[in-house]
C-alpha cells in the first residue's frame, strides 16, 4: 500500500498475532477503469480473538494457566480466545508432548479428541495446511482446540494415535482429503476416496469439477465457476 490516498494499516492490525491467511480486494472493477475507489480496497484476513490472558472465562483461563504450569514452553505458543472457544496454536514438534500432557494431567484431562479436521489456507505461506483438533474433557466438561500447521512442501505432522487412539480414522481422513502425512500413524491409507485416487480433494487447489448446464440456449456455469461475492 503505497498510495497516499489509502488509509494506513492500523497499528492494532499490525500487532495482531494471528497470521494473515487471505487478502481480499474490492469485488468491483478489478483491472477496470474504476474511479469509485472501491477497487483499491484491500482487506487482510486473520483469525480474530483475544491473544493474551486473562480471558475472563473460568474454563479457558484454568486450561491456559494449568498448561503454563505443566508444559515448559507453553508460554511461547500463540493462543486465541474467540466466541468462548480457546485455540492453542501448537508447533508441530511439540504436538505429541502437548497431546500427552493435555490427556494425562489431572487438571487438564482431555480424554478424547472429538474431531480432527484439515483446513487449507493456500495464501498462508509456510503454514498452508492446518490440522485442527477438538478436544473434550469429560472430567471437567470443557473443550479446547489445538491447531497445528505445516507447510505445503513438507506436509508432515506427528500422529497422535498413540495418545488418542480415536484419532485413527480422523487422521486417515485428513490425509485423504488434504494430503497431510501424520508421521507415526499405524496405517495411513485413504479412507473415503478410492485407494488408487490421485490428489487430495478438499484442498483449495483441487477443482470442484462439474459441467456447464445448457438452459434455453444459455449456459449456467458449473458451481466453482460462478460469480464469487466473497
Amino acid at each position: 500500500m503505497t498510495d497516499p490516498n489509502l488509509p494506513e494499516t492500523s497499528a492494532e492490525a499490525q500487532s495482531h498475532p494471528a497470521p494473515v491467511f487471505a487478502t481480499k480486494e474490492g469485488m468491483w472493477s478489478r483491472g477496470s477503469g474504476d474511479t469509485s475507489g472501491y477497487g483499491g480496497l484491500t482487506r487482510e484476513l486473520s483469525m480474530p480473538g483475544q491473544a493474551t490472558p486473562p480471558f475472563d472465562d473460568d474454563q479457558a483461563d484454568s486450561v491456559y494457566n494449568r498448561a503454563l504450569e505443566v508444559l515448559p514452553g507453553f508460554g511461547d505458543f500463540k493462543v486465541l480466545y474467540h466466541n468462548k472457544e480457546l485455540t492453542v496454536y501448537v508447533p508441530r514438534e511439540h504436538l505429541r508432548e502437548v497431546a500427552r500432557t493435555f490427556r494425562d494431567d489431572p487438571f487438564l484431562r482431555f480424554e478424547v479428541i472429538m474431531s480432527i479436521s484439515g483446513v487449507h489456507y493456500p495464501h498462508e505461506t509456510g503454514a498452508e495446511l492446518h490440522s485442527v483438533y477438538h478436544l473434550l474433557s469429560y472430567t471437567h466438561n470443557r473443550r479446547v482446540r489445538l491447531e497445528v500447521t505445516c507447510p505445503d512442501d513438507d506436509p508432515h505432522i506427528p500422529s497422535v494415535v498413540d495418545t488418542y487412539p480415536m484419532a485413527d480414522y480422523d487422521e486417515r481422513e485428513t490425509w485423504d482429503m488434504f494430503g497431510i502425512i501424520y508421521d507415526g500413524h499405524p496405517a495411513l491409507t485413504r479412507i473415503l476416496m478410492p485407494d488408487d485416487w490421485h490428489g487430495h480433494p478438499q484442498r483449495k487447489d483441487y477443482p470442484l469439477g462439474g459441467i456447464d448446464i445448457e438452459y434455453k440456449g444459455a449456459y449456467v456455469p458449473a458451481p466453482d465457476n460462478r460469480r464469487d461475492y466473497s
Binding site: F21, H134, Y138, Y169, Y229
Partner: protein, 444 residues
C-alpha cells in the same frame, strides 16, 4: 473348484476359486472336510442388507469365529464438505441435511448453530424458533431410534419390530412433511431460525402423533425386552466398556450403555434444553442389549420433551420464528398455493408491487447470501447416535471457507474390530446394528 480367473497375467493363481452359481456342493464340502486350515476370507458388502447402507466389511473367519475384521468406507462419499464451500451458508443446509439422512434435522441444527456462533447471534434466535428446533429434533430422535431398533431387530430375524418401527416412524415423518414439505432432507432449520412456522392445524397433528406414540411405543418393550431369542442374541454381545468407548471415540447410546450418563443436552445445554424436564438414560452391561434399552427409553424421554414443546408452542403462537436482523433472515414464511408450490403471496406482493428496496434485498440475500465474520467455531450437539459436531471456518464471505462434520457414526465404525474379533460371525451384524451407523453421515 475352478481355474482362478481373477489372477492377473503372471500372477500366481489361488489354489481354489468358487463361484456363487455353484458347482457340485457335495464335492466342495467333501473336499473342504479333508483340509486342515479353516480360514475363510469373506467380503461383506458394500451392498449387503445388513451393513446399514454401503459399508464394506472384510472378514477372516476360522470356522464361525471372526479372527479379523476390517471396515472399508467411502462408498457413499459425496463430497458434501467440499460442495458447500461453493454454496451460501443458507444453501449449505440443503447439503448437510443429506449427511446422516436418518437424523437430518440434527445435521441442519448443528450447522446452523455453528453459523450463528460465527455471526454472533446465538442469543438472538427467537424463543419460538428454539422450541420448534427442539420439537423437530426430538421427533427426529424418536424416528431415528425407531429405525435403529427396527433394523437392529430385523438383523436378528425379527421382522415385526422392523415393520412396527417403520409404522411409527411414518407417523412422525408425516408430521415433519406437513411442517417442512419433505419427509427427509428437510433443509428446514436455517441460520437465524427455522424456515416457516407450523402449518394450520399443525398443533392438532402434533397431538395426534403424541397420542399415537403413547399408544404404540410400549409395544417395543413387550415384543423385545424379555424375549428369550432377543436376549440370547443381544445380551453380552458386542461389548465395549467405558475405557474402550473413550479410547475409540464412542458417544451416544453405546457410551451410556456402559453406565456413564453423558448427554450433551444436559452437560452442555443448547437450544434451551436446560429448561426442559427429562432424564438421561443409562444402562449397565456394556452390550448391544443395553444400547437397545437406552434407545427405547430415550424415545419416552423425547416424547416428554415433545409434549413440553407442544405446551410452549400453544402459548407462543404468532411469535417470530426467524431472527429480527433482516440482513440475515431469509424471507421465511411460506404458504401453499393452488399449484402446490410454497411462496407467500404477501411477501411476493410486497416485493413485486410495494417496495423496490425490498425486491433488491430479496434478490441480494437469496442469490448472494449474507456475509459471516471471519473466524472458526466448533459446535456439538447430542444426535441420536452420539456427539454430532460441526467445525466451520469463515473468511468473511457469503460461503463457508471450510466446514467439517464430526459424525458419530464415523468414529463408531472404528469399534467394529474391537467388538467383533474373537466373536461369532453371526454377532457381527448385531455389533454393527448396535452402533447404528448411517453411511451417509459416515462418508459424507
Amino acid at each position: 473348484m475352478t481355474h482362478d480367473v481373477y489372477a492377473g497375467p503372471g500372477e500366481k493363481p489361488a489354489d481354489h476359486t468358487y463361484f456363487p452359481q455353484g458347482g457340485d456342493w457335495e464335492d466342495i464340502v467333501a473336499e473342504q472336510g479333508e483340509r486342515g486350515d479353516e480360514t475363510i476370507v469373506i467380503n461383506m458388502g458394500p451392498s449387503h442388507p445388513s451393513t446399514h447402507g454401503v459399508l464394506r466389511l472384510m472378514l477372516e473367519l476360522d470356522g464361525e469365529t471372526v479372527t479379523s475384521i476390517r471396515p472399508g468406507l467411502g462408498f457413499l462419499h459425496t463430497g458434501i464438505e467440499k460442495n458447500i464451500e461453493f454454496k451460501t451458508w443458507t444453501q449449505a443446509v440443503t447439503y448437510v441435511t443429506r449427511m446422516d439422512y436418518v437424523a437430518p434435522l440434527f445435521n441442519e441444527a448443528v450447522f446452523c448453530m455453528a453459523t450463528e456462533r460465527l455471526l454472533g447471534i446465538e442469543d438472538d434466535i427467537p424463543e419460538r424458533a428454539q422450541v420448534i428446533r427442539v420439537l423437530v429434533m426430538e421427533l427426529n430422535r424418536i424416528a431415528s431410534h425407531l429405525v435403529a431398533m427396527g433394523t437392529g431387530a430385523l438383523e436378528i430375524g425379527s421382522t415385526t419390530v422392523m415393520s412396527i418401527g417403520f409404522r411409527e416412524r411414518e407417523m412422525i415423518l408425516d408430521f415433519l412433511e406437513d411442517l417442512t414439505g419433505l419427509r427427509m432432507n428437510h433443509a428446514y432449520i436455517r441460520p437465524g431460525g427455522v424456515a416457516n412456522d407450523l402449518p394450520e392445524g399443525g398443533l392438532d397433528h402434533l397431538r395426534e402423533v403424541i397420542k399415537w406414540l403413547h399408544k404404540h411405543l410400549p409395544e417395543y418393550a413387550s415384543f423385545c425386552n424379555e424375549n428369550p431369542i432377543f436376549l440370547a442374541r443381544m445380551k453380552d454381545i458386542a461389548r465395549i466398556d467405558l475405557s474402550g468407548s473413550m479410547m475409540l471415540g464412542v458417544t451416544g447410546p453405546r457410551m451410556r450403555a456402559t453406565g456413564y450418563d453423558w448427554d450433551l443436552r444436559k452437560t452442555q445445554p443448547y437450544c434451551g434444553y436446560e429448561t426442559y424436564d427429562f432424564d438421561v438414560v443409562s444402562w449397565t452391561g456394556d452390550d448391544a442389549y443395553g444400547a437397545f434399552r437406552i434407545r427405547q427409553a430415550e424415545c419416552w424421554e423425547s416424547l416428554k420433551i415433545v409434549e413440553q414443546c407442544l405446551e410452549r408452542l400453544e402459548k407462543s403462537q404468532g411469535e417470530p420464528i426467524m431472527v429480527a436482523d433482516k440482513k440475515i433472515a431469509w424471507p421465511a414464511q411460506l404458504s401453499v398455493g393452488t399449484d402446490g408450490q410454497g411462496n407467500s403471496n404477501e411477501h411476493i406482493k410486497h416485493i413485486m408491487t410495494g417496495s423496490m428496496e425490498a425486491l433488491i434485498h430479496h434478490f441480494k440475500i437469496v442469490t448472494e447470501g449474507f456475509n459471516v465474520p471471519v473466524g472458526q467455531a466448533y459446535v456439538a450437539i447430542e444426535s441420536p447416535k452420539g456427539e454430532l459436531g460441526c467445525h466451520v471456518v469463515s473468511d468473511g464471505g457469503p460461503r463457508p471457507y471450510r466446514a467439517h462434520m464430526r459424525d458419530p457414526g464415523f468414529h463408531h465404525i472404528q469399534t467394529i474390530p474391537y467388538m467383533c474379533e474373537g466373536g461369532m460371525m453371526s454377532d457381527v451384524v448385531v455389533a454393527l446394528a448396535s452402533i447404528d451407523p448411517v453411511l451417509g453421515g459416515v462418508d459424507r
